[in-house]
Symmetry: C2
Subunit: 457 residues, 2 copies
């Protein structure tokens, strides 16, 4: 039966691509309140696709953006139940002048789809839906029980999802969560990701005078929020690229010798990686390789700075207010709530009384690591081999998926992270893309996974 399902997927490539383009045209920017109607359209689109092929589906409203919950397949199947998780919300476009084609007008150039959300995560989660659709159409049903949970708040740290999962705990019960929101190792090497970093996202707001002041008339007599903010941020890291927040590294799980040696064996092309970033040089925490820094070491990054005069030329103001967005990526076993508190304390300690300080928390989540020896991990490995024609490598990920530790806690399920996009796919940046080959390979892999998970094939 799986061969017929795969044949169906192959025969419907063009139609599948058209559906991907349709979904990408909906600007599901969850960070921006003005896109709320587009979020509804996104959820409705997914709901229609699922119900259209006979999968039971429901749009579940939340205080924020809705999510779509679906299920199909025999409840008493000879195999585990999987929950396909993904998200239809996307990052803001950022500086639109840097996009070669508009972010929400998907363009295909050289067999590559360029659009915001192509890789993160619309294209990848759609592959699972299309695989299920193929099974439904060809086999009249799924070989195992498959559930869907596709949310609209992943890019804003999933504020509503925990309640949805807890409220629908029985309905979402599963043996494995399957998700594709991580990349392959490189363009030619599929990967299964077994760990993600956690995150704490902060905004620091420093306020001085009640309004911008003339820097000549007032300079030297009051604290300048721009100077103060710079000093606060500078105080959070040292010259060896280590975070100086007291207690920050407490509980950090060091890599095992085995992990370090496996990382070293990966076909990682450091020069190509650097070239891809386009930065002058690699740098990072002393004593760790580039891959170790990416996947297993906590970081602290400025994401944005703004305030004062930001126009052309020169305006001599002492700014009334200055803000910084600063986020930390965490590793097992850092507790995000503890790190959040330590950050607040360190910023407070670095801030003089001559300004007002506000620290806003935009999101927190824990890191996650999955076991490598589960039956699900083995089936996923086989599915990738069949779908992409190549064995996957096992990697960790610098990005954060807040839902993973939550799934583990609430549903008791470990996650299988099977990535279909390339690591240079420009997720979060301009010109995000997904190759058509990866889109179709992902669809095949998702179809194979349902087959390989059945106990009696």
């Amino acid at each position: 039966m799986i061969d017929k399902v795969i044949a169906h997927i192959e025969a419907n490539k063009d139609a599948n691509v058209q559906r991907l383009l349709d979904l990408l045209r909906i600007p599901c920017v969850s960070t921006d309140p003005k896109h709320k109607p587009d979020m509804k359209r996104g959820a409705e689109w997914i709901h229609q696709l699922l119900t259209g092929c006979g999968i039971k589906s429901e749009i579940v409203e939340t205080p924020g953006h809705p999510c779509v919950v679906g299920e199909a397949g025999p409840p008493d199947a000879d195999g585990p139940t999987i929950l396909v998780y993904g998200h239809y919300d996307v990052q803001p476009t950022g500086d639109e002048s840097l996009w070669h084609s508009p972010a929400f007008e998907p363009a295909i150039r050289n067999e590559v789809v360029f659009a915001r959300g192509a890789a993160d995560d619309k294209g990848q989660v759609l592959a699972h839906m299309l695989a299920a659709e193929a099974w439904m159409k060809v086999a009249g049903g799924l070989p195992i029980r498959v559930k869907f949970l596709i949310e609209g708040e992943e890019e804003i740290s999933s504020p509503s999802l925990e309640k949805v999962i807890r409220d629908h705990r029985e309905r979402l019960k599963c043996d494995y969560v399957v998700l594709s929101d991580t990349p392959k190792f490189d363009a030619n090497t599929p990967a299964i990701t077994y760990g993600t970093k956690g995150m704490v996202y902060k905004e620091i707001v420093v306020t001085g005078p009640k309004q911008n002041l003339h820097s000549g008339s007032f300079g030297g007599t009051l604290a300048n929020p721009g100077n103060v903010l710079s000093a606060i941020i500078a105080s959070l890291r040292d010259q060896d690229e280590r975070v100086t927040i007291p207690g920050f590294y407490d509980g950090v799980r060091e890599l095992t010798a085995d992990e370090r040696s496996r990382l070293k064996e990966l076909p990682f092309d450091e020069a190509a990686y650097l070239k891809g970033m386009g930065a002058p040089a690699l740098c990072g925490e002393e004593g760790y390789s580039t891959l170790e820094r990416r996947w297993a070491r906590p970081t602290l990054d400025v994401n944005g700075l703004f305030g004062g005069f930001t126009g052309e030329g020169a305006s001599t103001v002492i700014p009334a207010k200055m803000s910084a967005k600063v986020s930390m990526r965490l590793v097992p076993d850092q507790n995000p709530h503890r790190i959040s508190k330590l950050f607040d304390d360190a910023v407070q300690a670095a801030c003089p009384n001559s300004v007002k300080l506000q620290v806003i928390t935009h999101g927190t989540c824990a890191a996650y690591v999955a076991p490598l020896d589960s039956p699900g991990m083995k089936a996923a490995t086989q599915a990738v081999e069949s779908g992409f024609g190549k064995s996957p490598v096992f990697t960790r990920e610098g990005g954060s998926l807040p839902i993973l530790p939550m799934f583990k806690e609430v549903l008791g399920a470990d996650s299988l992270m099977v990535g279909f996009c390339t690591p240079d796919c420009n997720a979060h940046g301009p010109n995000e893309f997904l190759t058509l080959a990866d889109f179709h390979g992902g669809t095949r892999t998702a179809a194979y996974l349902m087959d390989r998970l059945t106990v009696k094939r």
Copy 2:
């Protein structure tokens, strides 16, 4: 004759205010190329006012914005020749939501005119023009030779003015430059300013990756331009509010004991000053009073920070580029070109090789101090006493007037800085204002000054 001139000014108050409002409606923002036509309108407006009352006037084009040059009065007068200098260009409005009425729709509330440029400098320079007009109309001429030089590039550090002055050196020859671009000491105390600070205005641009990157996928493996920029800025000052650029304080002229004691005697209300700024506290360089810091100590201030994600909520990018506007105010005898170089060197030294660095210079000018015992200074003192009914105090100024050291060098003339606005007039900030009482008092003072400067009155 002076009494008749003053009577004419008093009788024409309303008409004079209408002309002030007319001038303020023209958005002469010299920093912004899109306002170039408005700059031309501003120059034309001034030219028309001067020629309208019989003052010879010409619009002198420059590579940037035009300036207006005029002259009237007997070449062989019994008195010195003065050159009234001012500027018709204004600062950008900044955050328009903070203005209680639109910046370029002047509003009068409680006998106060609110508009961008009301104080800096349209309202003040107009007072001199209206005083000359009154003399022309009432006396049929001016009692001394008066020249005008009203430029359109003061807020962008006067890039064209030096060439204009050098090209028109003979035509602009004078014994004193008279200008009103400094404030009174407080609302009730007129002031003559005898010194201004110099300035060096810089923009630091730090570039890392070729585009914004996902902070999870890439964080920890490259230098973050936001962290680097913060560290660079933080390195330029220490916790005692002193600038740490090597050599920065070399050549700084310390206040004399006499100056310090005179400053101490000024009726400076520190609590009111702090309340006016609306900052939580005063602070500044150790060992100096607030007035000393304002007027006689060099400073370094962040004027703007921008880059990365600056929207609502959270976006986890490593920014490709981060910029800061940073300016320094200088005192005698710091050499601005030397300070500019020292700044560049210090920034370069604080910047790692893992990012690209660009330092742009937006403007430099020297500090200036005038002699307090000249005949011109005495006449100006008497003119203020007559115009405002109160003796002026002698102050210095934290702001910069690049033209003063240039006038001294090219024309050999010292400057008489007679201020008509209040120090809390919100120059460069939202809701800039000038009281009608100060506008009229300034016009009277300017009329008296021409009279008091004549040797045989």
